[in-house]
Symmetry: C2
Subunit: 373 residues, 2 copies
Amino acid sequence: MGNTVPATIGTRIEDVDTPCLIVDLEAFERNVAKMGRFMQENGLRHRAHAKTHKSSDISLYQIEKGGACGVCCQKVSEAEALVSAGIRDVLISNQVVSLKKIERLAALATRARVLVCVDDLGNVDDLSAAAQQYNVVIECLVEIDVGAGRCGVVPGAAAVLIAKKIDEAANLKFAGLQAYQGKAQHAYDYNERKEMIRSAVNDVEQTVSLLKSSGLNCDIIAGAGTGTFEMEAASGIYNELQCGSYVFMDADYQRVKDKNGEFLSEFENSLFIYTSVMSKTKADKAICDAGLKAQSVDSGLPVIYGRDDVQYVKCSDEHGVISDPGNVLKLNDKLKLVPGHCDPTVNVYDWYVGVRNGRVEALWPVTARGMAF
Amino acid sequence: MGNTVPATIGTRIEDVDTPCLIVDLEAFERNVAKMGRFMQENGLRHRAHAKTHKSSDISLYQIEKGGACGVCCQKVSEAEALVSAGIRDVLISNQVVSLKKIERLAALATRARVLVCVDDLGNVDDLSAAAQQYNVVIECLVEIDVGAGRCGVVPGAAAVLIAKKIDEAANLKFAGLQAYQGKAQHAYDYNERKEMIRSAVNDVEQTVSLLKSSGLNCDIIAGAGTGTFEMEAASGIYNELQCGSYVFMDADYQRVKDKNGEFLSEFENSLFIYTSVMSKTKADKAICDAGLKAQSVDSGLPVIYGRDDVQYVKCSDEHGVISDPGNVLKLNDKLKLVPGHCDPTVNVYDWYVGVRNGRVEALWPVTARGMAF
């Protein structure tokens, strides 16, 4: 990681080496404060999602300053990194099914409150065995598929079956439901998102009611993301929301429209890929140093922040092609790119360069970078 | 990086944690041997491109066993990592234009032969000043844009102007031309590639001839990649080829057709994303643990190796959706994915897990992972 530190504290932003990830600390802090206020005003717990940023510094900030009750992450290795940083309440909002990973999960539960999602009956046996071996309690949320079409059982009876088995298993605690509608987060149309969440809420209500008939109560009804959290909040049934992207935002989230057909504007772009013009041999274009290894383009190309005279139009391994119809860019000019998709973009960097008033104030490692297992 | 080691030496392949990158060592070695033989038989130098793998172990293998004369890379930080691993002949096949990076380049030239590409007159002054300061010689290739539309000057007079300036500059050596047609590498149609390279060769010949009239000789005429190297080799004018992807291959290269309309078949897939089924709640699909953070999907989704009964059909941050019409997959089943695009996929991993005869034989760090500046 040594060769990848792009700056030192106090460096002026103009002198920061590129490409690198910069965080506008003021925008970031406003985003965290805004979400914290929303959760407090609505009497909801916020379990901030660390999959977005993979940073223990940011997770701790969300807990200490943003009122988050704990964190979510997606992988055991991420959870290990966060627990090592002192975070003591971690939900892996995902299935953990290999025996090796289950053992790591149980070991981790000796040091922190650990919760995990479950969508398989056999998995309950394996989790219980490991929890007994390590003399810990692992809290389990039954994941129901509320429309994303990925993990999770069909809402209703199938979920009750797993919940019962968890409830009866030694060293496991049935803690509630995971009901995240991942597909809805980036649905650009407001009414489409609303319909997806209406349907998810319906699934949750039906399942909670069936669980109640079986004598099982849900402490936690979890889900929601930056694209839909106000809808889950208004449902009256979700009580623990898992927003992540709101800390940074990205170009794809800027395409998500609110009910007035405007951009979702509650949150500001605080994350940028800082890039330089490295070749300028053509009048109408410039080549910058942020290509495919400096970002993920799965959700489209980055957007150049604060500029409408130039446009990022093509991305290859090491280069970005910038259309420059006015021939305004010069060699070594620097630009801020709003990444197309923040989560996988962060995952190629080792450092965040936090900037305030034009100077580097923070260097935060991307603690769980590459921790995919 | 500690939390990201997926195996230990001797581990059976079935017990390697997922997702991770595995290298079939025998296929890898055959690929390197095949390219080495080709270069030797054609009297060409092979400056193997390290941008593909970012691994000092693999670069050293290409030099020691594959007959490569040295390496290429794209970034100063990559060059630093490779020089630290003992590699003494490194071309940065890219422009280095910021003063900070130029100083690092000059410092590096105290320890190794360092070459760089140039496409700007002002850059010549900066390189010369730094080379004088460090009392080193930096060798410069003038990059000409032979059709890729990225870096490089127009072939012909503009290149001669820069070459002359380099030739006259203190502590710089004009070493030849960089003439890489990046766009041609992944053009699927053989005749399209052939036409692109014919045009590139024409550009090179014209420029070399103009240079000669100015009394400048090119020691190095560099370019070519895995998709076109036989064409540059046949040109009679390129003398230093820069293939990289041939060591691994990927799903997109499998779409590149040879003159008979078949897949390019000289090289074998040796790189795989190893993944496990982590949720199986639906009869017709399975969810695996390799999503957007385990690969780059810029050139399409990965292909499941050796299987035509199941297909990777969708990719989200943490999950892959596998279509399983026969309901044959079970929880914890493992699959090998051929990545859509090897270079940016490698860049999210910290380790290669080298496998022979079903056991882990090598753990190679991705030495220059994330080294983008």
